[in-house]
Structures are given as C-alpha cells and as structure tokens.
Amino acid sequence: MAYQFEDRPQRILLPARGGFIAVTILVALVLNLLPWRDVTGLPDWTALALVFWCIHQPRKMGIGVAWALGIIMDAANGALLGQHALAYSVLTFASIAFSRRILWFPIWPQALHVFTLLFSCQLIMVLVRTLSGGSFPGLLWFSGSVLAALLWPVVTFIFLIPQRLPESIDETRPL
C-alpha cells in the first residue's frame, strides 16, 4: 500500500522564529535536568528537540549548538565529558542530512525515522562509555528512544503552533 502523498492537504507555515527555537531547546534542557531519580528509560528531551529543529529547520540548527548542549548535559550529569557532545553532533549531522527525505513521510513513518536517529545516538553513548569502563545500563535504557519516537506527533503539534497561528488577526474575516 503506497501513501498518497499528493492527496494530503499541506499547510503553508509561517517562518520559524529563532527565539522560539531557543526557548524550546532551553525547556528541553531543563526537562533533562529535572530530578528524575533512578527512573531509567526516559526520553532524552534535548535530543528530541534537537532532532525536531534539525528536520524542520535544518538551516537554523547546527552541529556547534548541538555540541555545546551536549557538553552542558555531560557536566551537569557527571557523565564523561564529551559523551553527549559526540552523540549529539552525529545526531544533528544525520538529522540535517535526512531532513528533506523525512519530511516527505506522514507523521508515523517520520516517528520511525526519528526512532532510528535517537537509537543510534544512544548506541554511540553506549559504545563510548563501555569502552571507557562504564557499566552497561540494561536494555530498558533504550526505551527512551521508543518513548521519544511515540511522542513525535505530540512534539510536532506543539512545536509548530507558533507557525500555524494567523499572521495578522483580522476581526472582519468570515472564517
């Protein structure tokens, strides 16, 4: 069964604002720093926000930003310095490279792509940490990618709200 790409109505969105991108990234970072205690297998919010903006606005998101965010994550969590930075850099590169392709798909196949991206990001971290003597966190840890991919439609809806708003509110408009 082939998807009927041409039949889907497509909305022309407003350009994304840099300020909103910064706010969402900052909120994602704060979510990551919440006291999650010992709950493993939670999505990496910062990675999810990064992937979203890389796919939707590949020109406004760069590897440098991802690297800086990764290094903050490392320092704040007491992880190996550079672990998240490396993973996020590769994640950003792959997301930007695949951004044109991914946006052709409907929302759930998009989520599948996002899962692959986030999962490889986690694989890089596992590789780096086990090579440097860390313990394997268990398979449950990878459920973070699954949860993040399941949240993809929600994130898409929320992050695109400002771009869906009418540019100028016209009181006399019939609709």
């Binding site: 903050i72 007491g78 590769v90």
Partner: protein, 305 residues
Amino acid sequence: MDTSPPPFFNRGPAPLVRLAFFGLLAILLMVLDARFRYAEPLRQALVLAAYPLQRAALAPAQVAEGIIDYFTAKVQLEKENAALRARALQSAKDLVTLESLTAENAQLRRLADARERLPRSSTFAEIQYAGRDAFSRKVIVDKGASDGLLPGLAVIDDIGVVGQVTRVHPMLAEVTLITDKDHAIPVQVARNGLRAVAFGTGDGATLDLRFIAANADVQNGDTLVTSGIDGTYPPGLPVARVSRIERDAAYAFAKITCVPAAGTDRHRQVLVLSQDVNLAPQPAPAADAPTKSTKPRHSRTRRDG
C-alpha cells in the same frame, strides 16, 4: 524579512567537515577527561553555568514538596510522633549502655596507650538529584566546596555507608555510590573480622565480594562493616549484607553478592564525614629519602621493595 544573500554562497564549512571537527573535539575531551583528568576546570565552569538551569528545574519539585508537606494529614503526624517516641525510648536505653561503653572503651584505650579516635565532624547534605548518567551510580548533593567538602570524603546515612564524594563544585558535589561499577570499599565481616573488598556491580542494587577463597567463612546474612584501613571510611560502619553465595568447585574464589545496608537509592538526607585528622603518616617513597645516602641506591630500593 530575510535580506541576506542567497544561502548557497555563505554556508560556511561543509557539514561533514563540521562533524569531523566537533566529533574530534568531543573525542579529545573524552580522552582528556577519562585518562588525564585535565578537563576538570572546564567541567567546573560548565557546572556553574548549568547551575541556574538546575535550580529552575528543581524549583517546581520543591514547591510541590512544600505543599504536600503542608497538607500532610494530622493523623499521619500523630502516628509518626508515637512511633518516634517509641523509638526514642528504645534508643534511650541503648544510649545509656552506649555511654557506659564509650567511657569503658576510652579507658581501655588509654590503658592500652592507644591513640584515641577523634570524633569526626560531619556536614548535613541533601541529595538534589540522581545524575541522569545511566552508566554510573552517582548523586548530586547540595553542599560543595563552599561548605568545606573535599573529594574523597565518606558519605553515610542513618543506616550505613552511602558512598564517597568524588567531585566537588562550588555549590554542588558529586557522590559516587558504593554500587557504582568503579567503586571499591574495604570491608570486614562483622561476625569474624574477615577482611575483604566490596566492589559495586553497577546495577544499582548489589555489591560483589571478590577474591574471597571458596572455603572462606562467609555465610548468608553476614553483615559487612567498613574496616577503616583505607583511611577514607571510619571503621565499623555497616556497608552491606551478604545475600547470596555461589561456591563453584571450578573456581578458586566464591561468588558472593551483597545488598547495601544504606538506602543508596532511597533517602534524601545524608551526612558527609570530614577527613580523619590523625591518620597514620603515609610511608615515604623510597626515592624521596636520600637523607643518609652512604649506601648505594639500588640496595635501598631492593630492601624497600
């Protein structure tokens, strides 16, 4: 409006070049951090930069906690009060015996001309959050270098040893739990004084007692206490309880699994013990002692080694 020239002229270096640059930078940092510990100043600066963000992240939880505390039912408080009173009575009995025992102990020590163990001062600290690093067992506490914390200090709770301070930032400190894979703690079996070293397993709930001969006298349910010979942990603190012993004739060592005594992943309040001041002096390294250098050097090193 975007009035900059078309993007295909000024996009900077190619993405692959950027990836290579940042990837190599990250790998360089990892090597510096893991192998040489040169990256600590950078880490300190980053932690300081992330501190406001962390406060912001923790604020809602603290407010919610305050509200829940406020509305804690009176019944529950009364129940807790009664239980605490009973426990206080119980410990009062113990305290009386403890006082007499302490006095007796002090006298015996004086008799034996032993150096009296100085009571360590301690700092009360609260666990802010468990590090989101799935590869190690660490928690972040709300006291740091400004409160006099140093790397290497022991951290305990009301039951036993929780871990050790491994990194100190200006206002926060990182505590490695005894269940971390890279953490080892010298212990003694309380029942018979058998010395051993307990290693964390990294799964967050157990410790391993390695290199114990298969015929050694260790039983299920044995309590392990710190032996104190490392100079980091004061002797006699409960560490863990032996939960499973596998003796396999094919191996020289028994596989002994223990469960930590302290709530390494439960409580929020911990005590950070200050360094023991009257440690035995470290043995001077052989190369550093050419005081009476009449003898040829190699004989000295041979004797010392």
